[in-house]
Symmetry: C2
């Protein structure tokens, strides 16, 4: 499996997800600003991967700060640019807060800006290492939820490409298959950006896992057909009550799963839980450019002159979610208490 992101030679190397599966190319960010641009343009995407990229971006800001006569303002500028890159995935803010807190501590201890930069780079490495570990733990917990002998349906890409590796929803898929379960994997193509067709299908096939692709509109028929044993998706932000923001199309998929009595699971690290958001209404939903809908690979595919509604995410109400799988265990409804406990860190052993 190709690495989604890697810090080496003083720069963040990002597998450019805009060009997959046609081209395996790396985008290089040498500054916080370039990292923010890579997040905004979706060269890197997926909430956990955005968190890792933001951590490295802020470490780059600390390096820039150490070379500047005004280190604090350079660092704060980095925080702002990264924070503004995309609004919905809370992992971005979570990572920035983690590194900012670390910096404040070190400043209080009288550390030099060079030492701080080195420490923040180590902290970004830790964020990334922990994300990979979290994905593997999510897989270990989640695999037991997967009915053997039936299909698994997923939406968007919550795979190795959306994380530091292994994936959240696809972590559950990989762990279930590794445990010997016999499940056909189905992936929604996920308009408009085609994360399913371009990324999920690609990364599963790279691992030798067969996958059946479908237009998002066909998921309800597939669920109604009885072929699917469970739906597993990732998350960009989970509110205190379990309402979950994820790639647009997740909510109608959850409705279709409910209509077919198929359990609907969310797989995400606790860094995706935002206890400050009481429910889905508190989660900002990004709207993206009309071009994503009207054009594909530079070619116009829609009639000229139409307006466009292009939200990047939607909110699935907690009542449609059978379980939320985290690296510290599985939350079941009602979610308030279970999520608070998991975020506070009382982990089960997967």
């Amino acid at each position: 499996m190709v690495k989604t992101l890697e810090f080496r030679d003083g720069a963040l190397h990002l597998l450019d997800q805009r060009l997959l599966p046609g081209q395996v190319t790396f985008a290089v960010a040498r500054t916080a600003s370039e990292t923010a641009a890579a997040i905004r343009s979706m060269a890197v995407r997926g909430a956990p991967a955005i968190g890792c990229a933001a951590a490295y971006g802020l470490a780059l800001a600390a390096l820039e700060a150490a070379r500047s006569p005004e280190p604090d303002s350079v660092f704060e500028q980095g925080v702002r640019e990264l924070s503004d890159a995309r609004p919905t995935a809370v992992n971005l803010r979570w990572a920035l807060e983690r590194l900012s807190t670390k910096r404040t501590e070190l400043l209080r201890q009288g550390a030099s800006h060079d030492a701080i930069a080195r420490a923040l780079l180590q902290e970004a490495d830790a964020v990334t290492r922990e994300d990979l570990e979290a994905c593997r733990a999510i897989g270990r917990f989640g695999k037991d939820l997967v009915p053997d002998g039936r299909g698994i349906l997923t939406h968007c890409n919550a795979g190795g490409l959306a994380t530091a590796g292994y994936g959240t929803a696809l972590g559950v898929v990989r762990a279930a298959l590794a445990a010997g379960k016999s499940c056909a994997i189905y992936a929604d193509e996920t308009r408009p950006w085609l994360q399913g067709a371009r990324l999920t299908a690609w990364e599963l096939l790279q691992d030798g896992i067969p996958v059946t692709l479908l237009p998002d509109v066909a998921a309800a028929s597939l669920l109604a057909s009885g072929r699917i044993g469970c739906v597993v998706v990732g998350a960009d932000r989970i509110a205190q009550n379990g309402d979950t923001a994820n790639k647009v199309g997740t909510y109608p998929l959850a409705l279709a799963a409910q209509a077919a009595a198929v359990p609907f699971f969310v797989a995400a690290p606790t860094s995706t839980v935002d206890l400050r958001a009481r429910n889905g209404a508190d989660i900002p939903i990004e709207e993206r450019s009309a071009d994503e809908v009207t054009h594909l690979a530079g070619t116009r595919i829609a009639a000229e002159g139409a307006s466009v509604f292009n939200p990047a995410f939607d909110v699935t109400p907690a009542r449609l979610i059978a379980a939320i799988v985290t690296e510290r265990g599985i939350a079941r409804p009602p979610y308030e208490e279970a999520l608070s406990r998991l975020v506070a860190g009382s982990a089960s052993t997967p």
Copy 2:
């Protein structure tokens, strides 16, 4: 408005819907076989338009039969080829049966094959003229169902391009707007063939009607936002109990409308009602080629090696449908009796 189909100079001229909106080009069918190919390849699509095209195709078969030493076998070959062109839209079979019955009558009366060919061409003209009249009547009935001052959401293209003109679902839209209702029009792009983005947006804009396009996955969010007053779609086949086969994506749209308490209307001529199908399980669902999903305008957009599930239609259960608008009046649940009465021809006056 450009004509969807027209018979002139001994041939059927079809506005080629594969090339819209980029090119306004006509495909020409001079034989039943060429007409069947045009239906199969979706140069012409939309259940009522397929019915009209099939009628002309069979008139062409009658012309070929009149020039052949074996008129019956030439005609029957035409019936078979046209009948096999696409399985789901019942209007195709309905039109073929109407013209075949006409031919049987005329044969019994001792008409010549030349006279039969002329009569079947007139019958195809009648099918087409009646379809246009039916669309206008559907509009007159349907406009009263549309809440004023709120959005109308539609899926696929059930417009002038899917009929002899004016449209079924878009007939309701046009009539509501003509009656002075103030409704913003929203169109699902409708993967994989993009009928919404390419055809619905194009034909509404041609008429000066503003339209907002959205990825199919965003429809549930739009409905949840409260901006939509009703959903109106067409149909490819309506079973006796009201279960409705329509373009894939209609069923999840109906689920999302139900979740948002937005009424969901089907608009279709009575030729789309199949009383021989007791419910949705009796309706054959066409699966189309993987290329429609993996390629767009000749360019590969999905990872190589994935299998594809690409059903062209799905079935919306009658319980999710608030009303079925036909040219003879509005059917409400329970649908069995209402639909049988409308098909039998007891029309209301719109």
